[in-house]
Amino acid sequence: MNQVKDLLLLFISSSLVSNVVLSQFLGLCPFLGVSKKVKTAAGMGTAVIFVITLASAVAGVIYEFVLVRFHIEYLQTIVFILVIAALVQFVEMFLKKVIPGLYEALGVYLPLITTNCAVLGTAIKNVQNEYGIVTGIVNGFATAVGFTIAIVILAGIREKTEFNDVPEALKGSAIVLVTAGLMAMAFTGFSGLI
């Protein structure tokens, strides 16, 4: 029972308290770029959940059974980036062939995720914090859920404020960054949770 409680706490901490975008600054590119509409933001979020969870699982297994076993842990950065890049391409091809419906929904977002630092960051964090495979997967899932929450909220705000009268110099990404800053302030409120 204790273990379940720990995992639950980890889930809340990774998704809300130390939110991947708003307090770790990972995955800023899609966060700012694909947050114009709630619908696309949700699509991006789903793709990120899918990829990060899968990547944490694969990276965890490779770390445990290959890198640790042969005492080559120092190769983790190289191995992880190659595995993640290959994985995303593989997932893209797999979905295209096997589940075309899902591919239609997520396909356009997948290439964007390849070089997304959130994926690699989560895999490395799992190792740095010495999470096992299961804890790593939960952490990856929670991180990605945190990303989705943040990007959907941001997209909602941007939809509402699209026609607001913004000073010339702050138009475009500047005002989005201010919005993200205010969201980050709101999210620091979660730090009292744990």
């Binding site: 708003l22 307090s23 770790q24 600054f25 990972l26 995955g27 800023l28 590119c29 899609p30 700012l32 770029g33 694909v34 120092y74 190769l75 983790q76 950065t77 190289i78 980036i81 190659l82 890049a85 391409q89 290439p111 964007l112 390849t114 070089t115 997304n116 630092c117 690699l120 960051g121 490395i124 964090k125 740095q128 010339e168 110099a169 702050l170 138009k171 475009g172 990404s173 500047a174 005002i175 960054l177 201010v178 993200a180 800053g181 205010l182 980050a184 302030m185 999210f187 620091t188």
Partner: protein, 234 residues
């Protein structure tokens, strides 16, 4: 020699990766909580950038076009691993402060961007100086942003207190939201310069042409190049 000086000038001022191109924003926001962290991250990136540019340029005739991006990534990741191990051994405090962002140098757009756009097409020595210039420009930018946030957020820089007695630190600047506000201000200043420059008839297309502006350019810039065949190489 002129070429080298021109490359350094280009990287540090004319095409400064942070202030002009807006590349590599993740580490810029994350590690600039203090000037020393910014400097450490900047220099670590500069070393990786210089060495990877040099090696990629040396190997540019041997790397087949189709697999060049994976090849670049392996080279970059190797240098990042070297830097990571060296920092763990000799600068453990800085390494702890920078944490996960050191291995994440691998996915910094600046490094892959320079490899792709400069080192792969130019001889080793100019590439080396290109990497050095860009790296120093990045270090300078991170140190300045770090110093700015640290002075406002804690009233000190490099452990040197110089603000007057009655100064109340604005704590939010060293926390996560402060990073977003500082970057927003930076983009705002860029936009002002851009608007004025365009009115005066100057070419301002370089400003903000990096990732953060809009992800469609990033998609064409970084990710799709990953697949080699989608982008044809001249």
């Amino acid at each position: 020699m002129n070429k080298a000086a021109e490359r350094l000038y280009n990287g540090i001022l004319k095409e400064n990766p942070t202030f002009v191109l807006m590349l590599g924003m993740c580490p810029t926001l994350a590690v600039t909580t203090s000037a020393i962290n910014g400097l450490g991250m900047g220099l670590a990136t500069a070393v990786v950038l210089t060495l990877s540019n040099f090696l990629i340029s040396l190997l540019r005739k041997m790397i087949p076009d189709r697999v060049r991006i994976p090849a670049f990534i392996v080279i970059i990741a190797s240098f990042v691993t070297v830097i990571e191990l060296l920092m763990k051994a000799y600068l453990p405090a800085l390494n702890n402060a920078l944490g996960v962002y050191i291995p994440l140098i691998v996915v910094n757009c600046i490094i892959l961007g320079r490899a792709e756009s400069y080192a792969y097409e130019n001889p080793p020595i100019p590439s080396l100086f290109d990497g050095l210039g860009m790296g120093l420009g990045f270090s300078m930018a991170l140190t300045l942003i770090g110093a700015f946030r640290e002075i406002l957020g804690s009233g000190a820089v490099f452990d040197y207190h110089f603000m007057p007695e009655g100064f109340v630190p604005i704590g939010i600047f060293v926390q996560a939201p402060g990073a977003f506000f500082v970057l927003a201000a930076l983009v705002g200043i860029q936009n002002v310069i851009k608007i004025k420059g365009t009115k005066a008839g100057k070419d301002m297309s370089k400003i903000g042409s990096g990732c953060t502006r809009d992800c469609s350019t990033c998609k064409e810039g970084c990710s799709s190049k990953f697949y080699g065949e989608k982008e044809d190489k001249k």
